[in-house]
Symmetry: C2
Subunit: 235 residues, 2 copies
């Protein structure tokens, strides 16, 4: 936790907050804060700044707050991701928030196991919790937008063309394709497939929506590693 | 497991192998192979090729083998990593092997907790197991070299200058430094710090050994994410 992220309910005044949950435990056990200590703090969806520990007792801490710094810019990116397996999904939410993805679309694909859609990690509060862990890691305050599309074809045919329009549209896909471009200066729409990859029909449909296949070399990466590697190369 | 990786003990002849362990279970449960099926196969430290399932019974499978393809090239990189916390370390071994790092040096740092050195994941057989998982993911057969340096100063003063000589020497370090270069065409020696970063004394010493600080932007990445992001950007 490189940033203590505050929500509206934590504020007792414009410049005061009281904490008693996971964040309080973390401040005590990991940061071992004392009265008078300073911490980096952010307001969810707002500015970042400094907190001073004013009072520390039993099960709560009171902080005085000042906010003066904007959150880092998001990547100009819509990431379309075939739903990963649940264990991976949790880390992907964190990674996507840490890396600064603006918008994430989770989509079905032929090689996504049906059971993956049953995971509790897709519940709105679980998504939010993991995105917040990612923001705390990165020092960011702004939640990425997350959209869930359980049907591939209607999403790719009806909604993806409008998302991809005016952006560099790419699909990460192993094979004899151009290498993924480096250091681009424009908005990107990037699709990353499931373990085992997109099937040819899906690549065709993504192509018609404006997304061209690019590759990262011979090595097959786990989904989470592929997300980080493609974003680090693109931006 | 995108590659079935065979060791000398698995071979019953130059072109035959019998399997009965984790790899056999994986072939049955995940790949659901039948007699006559083909699988991608590699010889640890050697060539890759195809296996055909010749016999499948009870608790073992017999494969006929042909090898004709070299493993993908390694990155021309020595990665020096402050020892991560155990949970992260396991994934870092896998990621390092998957990404194709040639040589990994795990080193102490002021902000590495002493208890991290006690982890069972540093036992040679545990290191090997996780590197092999990473090779199976990537489709590679060649284990990265792993070196463990429990003392920072003697390593950085006495041995690092020879490693860094003739390479592009870099330290990933947040702050007002040049951005990490993209798409380099030369060997690299790259050091990545612990959670919380290197301390100034360590940055000084790494600098004297030929490693200059570079940054990846405002966002603070987890160690595993930083490794992937820096490698994807460099190569």
């Amino acid at each position: 936790m490189n940033l203590l992220l505050l929500e509206e309910a934590d504020f007792t005044a414009a410049d005061r907050a009281v904490l008693s949950d996971r964040r309080f435990t973390h401040m005590q056990d990991i940061h071992r804060v004392a009265v008078g200590d300073s911490l980096r703090v952010g307001r969810l969806g707002g500015l970042m700044g400094q907190a001073r520990v004013e009072r520390l007792e039993g099960h709560e801490a009171e902080l005085s707050l000042s906010f003066d710094q904007p959150a880092p810019a998001k990547l100009p990116l819509t990431l379309i991701l075939a739903l990963p397996r649940p264990k991976m999904l949790r880390r992907v939410f964190q990674t996507v928030a840490t890396m600064g993805v603006a918008k994430l679309v989770l989509v079905n694909s032929y090689r996504v196991e049906k059971s993956f859609w049953q995971t509790p990690f897709l519940a709105p509060e679980a998504i939010r919790e993991n995105l917040i862990l990612g923001l705390e890691q990165a020092r960011d305050t702004v939640l990425p937008e997350v959209i869930i599309e359980k049907r591939f074809k209607p999403f790719v045919e009806d909604r993806l063309p409008a998302i991809a329009q005016g952006t560099l549209g790419l699909v990460g896909h192993p094979g004899n394709h151009p290498p993924c471009p480096r250091g681009v200066n424009q908005p990107v729409t990037l699709a990353i497939g499931p373990e085992g990859g997109w099937i040819p029909y899906e690549i065709d449909l993504l192509g018609k929506a404006g997304l061209a296949p690019v590759q990262l070399g011979e090595r097959i990466l786990r989904v989470e590693t592929a997300v980080t590697a493609l974003l680090a190369r693109l931006f």
